[in-house]
Subunit: 276 residues, 2 copies
C-alpha cells in the first residue's frame, strides 16, 4: 500500500508515515479520526491528521502524565481524566492500588470505540470496574463537581478545536474547585521548542491559582520537537518533595523514581521560558 499519512507539524515541517494498512478512517462529530498500521511505530491514532499516540511509544506519554502526579499524591483515590479517550492514561492510573474510582470524560465516543477496536493494549483498562466512562464535555463535567477529586489530568489534543477551552485560566479555576483540598492537576502543554508562549501562559495561570506550580519534561518520539512538557498545579503536595520510599512501584518502561526527579531538571532555555 503506497499511502503516506503526513502530519503538518508547522507550515514548514512535515512528518510522513508510510501506511502498511489503513485500519479505519471516519469523520466523527468532532474531528477526523484515523488508525493506521505502521512498520516502525505499530498502530497509530490520528485526530485531524495529528498523531495522538502510537503503540510503539505511547508508554512514554501515558506513564509520564499519570505516574508523576499519582506518586506526588500520598493516597490518590478518585481521579478524573479529561480527554484521553484511548484509555492509555487510565491504564496507568489503575496500576495504583489506592485508586477507587477513575472518571474518564471524553467528548468523542468514536475515539473510545476506535481504541477498543484497534488499540487493545492501550485501551485494556477501560473495562476495569473502577473506571467510569462519561461521554461528554470535560469542561462541563469539571464545573459540576466540587471537592470531588484527588487528581485531575487533562490528556487533551492540541489547544485548537475541541481541546482549546481546556487551556484557559477560567477552566483552571473550575479544576481547582473540583479538586479536594490537597488535590493536584496535570495537563500536557506541548513542546518547549515550538510552543513557548502557551507554556509560559499556562504556568502563569496555574501559579495564580495553585500554591505549587511545576513544569516537567519527557522525550516523546512521535510528537513534534521530541521534547514534551507537562504542567502541574497542586494545592499542597510538591512533586519535588519526594524520596524513594514515597513511590508506589508499578510496572513501567519510561517512568521510574529517578526519571520522576530528572524530569523536573529543566534546561536553562526552558527555565527562561517560564521565568524560574
Amino acid at each position: 500500500m503506497n499511502l503516506w499519512f503526513t502530519e503538518v507539524q508547522t507550515k514548514n515541517v512535515m512528518l510522513s508515515l508510510a501506511t502498511e494498512n489503513l485500519l479505519h478512517i471516519e469523520k466523527t462529530d468532532y474531528q477526523e479520526l484515523a488508525v493506521i498500521e505502521h512498520k516502525d511505530l505499530g498502530r497509530v491514532l490520528f485526530l485531524d491528521s495529528v498523531i495522538q499516540t502510537s503503540t510503539r511509544d505511547e508508554f512514554v506519554y501515558h506513564e509520564m502524565i499519570s505516574h508523576v502526579p499519582m506518586n506526588t499524591h500520598p493516597h490518590p483515590r478518585r481521579v478524573l481524566v479529561v480527554g484521553g479517550g484511548d484509555g492509555g492514561t487510565v491504564r496507568e492510573i489503575v496500576k495504583h492500588p489506592t485508586v477507587e474510582k477513575v472518571v474518564l470524560a471524553e467528548i468523542d465516543e468514536r475515539v473510545v470505540w476506535a481504541a477498543r477496536e484497534y488499540l487493545p493494549e492501550i485501551s485494556a483498562a477501560l473495562g476495569d470496574p473502577r473506571v467510569e466512562i462519561r461521554i461528554g464535555d470535560g469542561n462541563v463535567l469539571v464545573r459540576e463537581n466540587e471537592n470531588a477529586f484527588d487528581l485531575i489530568i487533562v490528556d487533551s489534543t492540541d489547544p485548537v478545536g475541541p481541546g482549546e477551552v481546556l487551556f484557559s485560566r477560567d477552566f483552571y479555576g473550575a479544576v481547582s474547585r473540583a479538586l479536594k483540598e490537597d488535590g493536584l492537576f496535570v495537563a500536557q502543554t506541548e513542546s518547549p521548542f515550538y510552543n513557548e508562549d502557551l507554556i509560559r501562559r499556562v504556568q502563569q495561570d496555574l501559579s495564580a491559582i495553585f500554591p505549587v506550580t511545576r513544569l516537567y519534561l519527557a522525550a516523546i518520539p512521535t510528537y513534534p520537537g521530541g521534547l514534551w512538557s507537562f504542567s502541574l498545579g497542586s494545592k499542597k503536595h510538591d512533586p519535588l518533595d519526594l524520596d524513594e520510599r514515597d513511590f508506589r512501584h508499578c510496572a513501567t518502561r519510561y517512568y521510574s523514581p529517578a526519571v520522576h526527579l530528572a524530569a523536573f531538571a529543566l534546561p536553562p532555555f526552558v527555565r527562561q521560558i517560564i521565568g524560574v
Copy 2:
C-alpha cells in the same frame, strides 16, 4: 521557493523541511553537503540528506556532547574532537578556561568551509588560537597518538559511510591508548528508539576497555526519535561522582549541573537495552 528537503529517517518515516533558501549544495569527495535556510529551524546542514545540525537546536547536541565529559574531568587541557567539522563542539570546549589545545580531526574540509561560510554562530570558535584543525581521517590520527589527550569526543555522522569505522571496538582500543591515564571518551550513539543494537554493542565494547562506562540522554528535536544517546568511557573519573562545586560554569542553554545528573537517569526501557 517551493523546495522541500526530505530526510528519509527510516524506510517508513520521512521528515520534510520547506526550504526558504537553498544556500549551498555540492558533492564533496565524501558526501553530499547542503545548507538550507528554514523558517523554524534557521540554517540547516545536511550530509547525504541527513540533518546534521540546525542553528535553532544545535545547542542541545553540542552542549551535551561537550560539557558532560568536560565537567567530569577535573582539569581537561588537551581535547581531540573527531568529526564535528561544523565547529559547534569545539565552540563549547573552548568555553572552559582549563583548555590549552583542541585538535579537530575532520575528514571533509568542505564541511569546515561550509560551516565557516554559512553557520558563523556554530563555527565561531574555529579561529580560536587554541584550536588546531587537521583535515584527515580521525581514525588514523587517533592511532598516531599515545597518552596525548584528556578527552576524545567522537562527533560523527551516523554509523554508515565515513562514520562507520568510528563505532568499532578496535577504534575504541586506539582511543584508550591515545588518552592519558585519567582520560575519557564520549561518542554520539544514536536513538534508543531506533538504534537499540548499536547502543548495546557500543556499551559492551566500551565496558571491555574502560573501567567506567555510562550512557546518557538528551532531547534533540531535529534528530529521529527526538531522544538521543551519548556513550562515555572513562579510565578514572565517573560523571556521576560530581557535586555542584565541581562544575565549571559556562554560558549554556540546555546544559546545567542539574541537567548533567538528570541525563544519566535512564528510563527502564533504556536500562534494559544496555542491561543495567
